[in-house]
């Protein structure tokens, strides 16, 4: 590795003064005697100095106001959203209750209508009720038993 390459590898640390005293001095002397390295160093220093220019960029004086405006807008939208959610829930509940009430009403109404219509039109009237364990219905069985 020649001298110039060694110097090039340390130029950024030289710029940031992050080398020991001896190395700093060594590079300083080299730069005074080598125009090629000197040009490279000046270029590097100029590019890195852009950081200081960017760091000192003036912030818009109205930035704080803009941020507060944005925050207020967020709050307003949030409130609007919350209100619409409450309104939506209210509408949903009302509609559900209405639907159930209408359902019950029609159920009772239709049920009542069919009941009265069926009874009125029915030709069948049940007068006797038979039960499987009714003794009178066991005549056949008792006959079989008696025949034995």
């Amino acid at each position: 590795m020649n001298d110039c390459t060694k110097i090039e590898n340390n130029l950024i640390f030289f710029y940031y003064k992050e080398l020991n005293k001896e190395k700093m001095e060594q590079i300083n002397v080299h730069l005074l005697n080598c125009s090629k390295c000197e040009i490279l160093y000046n270029q590097l220093a100029n590019s890195l100095s852009v950081i200081d220019i960017e760091k000192n960029t003036d912030i818009d004086l109205l930035l704080t106001n803009k941020i507060i405006e944005q925050v207020l807008l967020v709050e307003k939208n949030k409130k609007g959203k919350n209100n619409s959610v409450v309104f939506k829930k209210l509408i949903q509940t009302t509609l559900t209750v209405a639907a159930i009430s209408v359902g019950i009403f029609f159920g009772v109404f239709i049920g009542g209508f069919y009941e009265s219509a069926n009874i009125a039109n029915s030709n069948f009237e049940q007068t006797e009720v038979f039960y499987f364990n009714d003794l009178e219905q066991e005549a056949f069985l008792s006959e079989i038993i008696n025949n034995e």
């Binding site: 090039e8 590898n9 130029l11 950024i12 640390f13 940031y16 090629k36 040009i39 490279l40 000046n42 270029q43 590097l44 100029n46 590019s47 890195l48 100095s49 852009v50 950081i51 220019i53 960017e54 760091k55 960029t57 912030i59 818009d60 930035l63 704080t64 803009k66 941020i67 507060i68 944005q70 925050v71 207020l72 967020v74 709050e75």
Partner: protein, 193 residues
């Protein structure tokens, strides 16, 4: 008012306290953002986003670190997201992504550039620095920006990035080496050394 008292009021959605918080910390957010974005308008956009996010999610700040640490983290994340969203919009300069030593030069399409002149213009230095920084890995870039744009100590950077101090030292050393390599290669190419 102490930081703790201020934050309690901000959590209670006190607008005056929040305005004070913005006033006290907008520079750190803006400077960090400009390190990533290199553009005033974009950095102001990110600064606004960071503080809106702070307002809406301040409840999640548990006070285990300083509010500045929390803001640095938010700014780094939001700046990186902002860059991702806007990557392909202004590609004036491109860097060879193969990371080839010889081809990893900055390919500036500035037609007014005078290559016979060995010294670059300020605009060219600005572009060269921007793309040299952008070519660093995300962690190297973050540590470099926090150190050089915000003058944060290794300890503070370690806290923001949630890594050890020795990792910060190593990241910064590699970041500077890589920046140097990119920039020197670029000067040699453009000035026909």
């Amino acid at each position: 008012m102490t930081e703790k008292e201020l934050l309690i009021k901000v959590k209670q959605k006190n607008q005056k306290a929040f305005t004070l918080l913005v006033e006290q910390h907008k520079s750190l957010v803006f400077n960090t953002a400009i390190g990533f974005l290199h553009n005033k308008v974009n950095a102001e956009d990110v600064t606004q986003e960071v503080f809106i996010k702070t307002w809406t999610s301040i409840e999640s700040f548990r006070g285990e670190s300083k509010i500045s640490t929390w803001l640095y983290r938010l700014t780094v994340n939001m700046s990186i997201n902002y860059l991702k969203k806007n990557t392909n919009k202004n590609n004036i300069i491109s860097i060879d992504k193969k990371n080839n030593e010889n081809s990893a030069m900055l390919d500036i399409e500035d037609k007014n550039q005078n290559n016979s002149d060995k010294l670059l213009t300020n605009k060219e230095h600005s572009k060269a620095l921007k793309y040299a920084i952008d070519s660093l890995s995300q962690r190297q870039r973050t540590s470099f920006i926090l150190n050089k744009y915000e003058n944060l100590s290794y300890k503070d950077i370690a806290e923001v990035m949630e890594i050890s101090i020795s990792s910060v030292e190593s990241l910064l050393h590699r970041a500077k080496k890589n920046l140097q390599k990119k920039l020197l290669n670029y000067y040699k190419k453009t000035a026909s050394f």
